[in-house]
Symmetry: D5
């Protein structure tokens, strides 16, 4: 299986680029695989951004995230990588991702990344 | 079917224009149609504003929003357009709209627009 | 039926006037009448204030609000009027009222007023 | 606009017809129009059935229900009619529909129909 | 003010009298007056019935219940009386009313009546 | 302090003795004292009954329950005793009490008693 | 560390043995150790019983359950054992235990045992 | 990828086979693939059974369910198949599975299967 | 009965006085008596403070608050007095108390006091 | 039993040290022992930090916290100590811990510590 690639992501022209406004997209069906144990991980991604010239298209976002289904990735790493990909493709004014993962061993973890910092 | 028009919106004189106060109106029964697939979309609009000389009348707001029932519109576009119409008609001191749409393909989206930015 | 009057409101001396502290009173049983249709409206008033020399007495507040039971009043107007009356009687350091009304025609509205602005 | 027709509904062969088991489908995006006022109604349909030889296909159910979007229908009537259509097409061992409509005039209503009674 | 009368209630012909089905109507905006203290009471009525030849019309139900707004009535009495009126007018196969009143003196009460017993 | 006595309880004539109906009264402000440690206990009593000729009056119930405020009583004993008193005074067709006490030592307890068994 | 023993449990005479009534005790702070991995498990025990001549004393129940803190035990086994011990000591008319354990590996389990079956 | 096989499931001897008791296991991280679209589905399986001589081991259940991760299966079919496999391996006195799937196209479905019927 | 006294409160040395950190204590079982009607009041106290050299001991706080059980006190007064006592005894860097009282006459009140202001 | 030691904690290199981002870890299964009574305490730890060069490894965090299972520690002390250990090992840009303990004697307490202050 090939690694996830940002080329799956498609964009469309922001219909109101002159206004500073916010889009929030919640993806509760994210799943990837632990690179050490091979066991699946599950989480909810909340992506919030202020678009500049481009918005990401939702169906292509779904396909982009599905690339992680059988891909090995640590929590911290996958969250940062998804932010990097979405920023590279949409060049937003700002963007943040909150990734909430389900409990493992009685402990649950979330990771919050922001662009620009 | 004709396109939505702001002429449906009616106003009344703000009874306390000398005070800076806030009105929040929640409309959980908003529905429009996806311009690509023709499938219906559903969402909740939360409109918050500080009136200046005019308030919008609630029954006319309901009729205004019902114009979108069979109208094709993308999430980002329809939210910005409704803000433009309400601002044009009531000339508020400030106004924001949060539009929360129901999930599609396991993903849900909300759009937040504000006047003035 | 006579119009609501602030003379129903009674006060008592703030027992700790030297301290800046806050009192919040929630009244979920407010009801008035729509001046156009004659239909009853229902709402919850949340009154928050920092008393100066006087606090309002709760039983008299209840009687004051009951005056609106068969009184015709628009949402925006009644909220502003109650604030005016409570400010006039207690002369607080600051006060706000949030009035949340139940849905009508699938739309619900709340009004927030503050003194001083 | 033509009236809703059960011919939109498609079925597939029950993969386990020898077992008595239950399928529950919840449709929170049902909307129709009041035949008197022309105002839209909104509701959630919960369809529960024990299939015999046929199951209804979910995508065709969605299209079937969308036929009511601009169709005038009373609560009691539309619920009974949908049951009649689904029973006619799938010939289930038993089926029930609970239709919960959103409030109108401060009152909300639900209708529960069952086959066979 | 005149006493509540069942003549306000209107009916329409049950569109599916051959089927045994259930209608539930929830009225969260019921209010009456305590006959001893004159203080308002508030409650939620849940009316569930299996219609025979007649259904009650919702707008007339709203007007019927509004007759209690300034009428003195004890919890137990008003609940029984409303059941008697609705049974007399619609002659249902069965009907029940649950009346949940808001707390007084730290105690809250509900009354459940059923026809036939 | 004298022991609690059922003589505090007052009744009124059931206004609809010919109908078998149910009254539920929830008292979330019950408090008594542990007879061993002297520490206060807190609980919620839910009293449900079908009246015969008599109903208990709510204000007198409040005063009756306040008698336990400084009275030493075990959970099991106090619940049974209150049932005995309410049954003796109102002679209901049936009655049950559920007493839910707040946690002590990380453990919480509820007692359910019924008449007749 | 010695194994858990029912001798820790203390009882007191049921104050109302002539009545058939129910006592429910919820213990959300149960913890034991997995006998294979040595890792701690956590759960909530809900014990419901109809006492005959004896009730268990709550403080002794707490000490009895604390014996499992460093004791290795499988879910199914520990739940059955606690029921056996409580039945042996109190000889109830009937008793059930529901043990809800916290998730492990994304899966959570509860065990329900009843006496007599 | 090979098809799911019940040979992954492991069992252990029921430690209390003489008692009729119930084990409930909730698996909120089930995922499979739609055999038509290739899109992932997500659901929660609730497995409840009364063991006879054998219990299923939880870790092997997790591995068994993970076999469906990239396996194409319809809702109705996969739920029936998992019941068949668990019944074949553990030979329980009775067992049921409730499978709640996440919404697709604004519609969500659950399937309930039981052994013996 | 003697009046509440702060001498009941005990302290212990803050184990980390060099760090600015916060302790929040929630007391949902507070009860006092209305000085006018003699009726009991109930509330939840939330005490938040940054300790300096001293922390209050929790068991002594419980005994301190129990002194109000049969003591007459208005909402505003008792909240201010408890703050005064806790500040006098522990000399914190800052402290606040939120007192939420249960509804009376359909109205509920909370009082928030802070030191220093 | 030996005292808890930070040597149990393991770290891994922050995969994105150039970005200022936040990791939140919630541990609802923390338990320790009261140093005075020997009774177990239970709590939920919420650890939030911005990593610099190092992140703590979750499995080692679990083992580190399990060291407190039979260790005597006061609420305030244990929360400060865990912060000190995690800061010493990971040298974060900032870190906070909120420790919420279950109720004792009807009172519950939480402690919040932050680095740097």
């Amino acid at each position: 299986m090939t690694a996830p690639t940002r080329e799956t992501l498609e964009t469309f022209a922001n219909p109101h680029p002159q206004r500073h406004y916010e889009i929030k997209t919640v993806c509760p069906e994210f799943t990837s695989v632990c690179p050490i144990t091979g066991q699946p991980d599950f989480g909810t991604l909340t992506i919030t951004y202020v678009p500049d010239q481009l918005c990401f298209e939702l169906k292509s976002l779904k396909f982009y995230l599905q690339q992680y289904r059988n891909h090995g990735a640590f929590y911290e790493d996958v969250t940062n990588r998804i932010l990097d990909d979405l920023v590279a493709v949409t060049q937003p004014r700002r963007m943040s991702i909150i990734a909430d993962f389900t409990p493992r061993g009685g402990i649950r973890t979330s990771v919050t990344v922001t662009y620009p910092e």
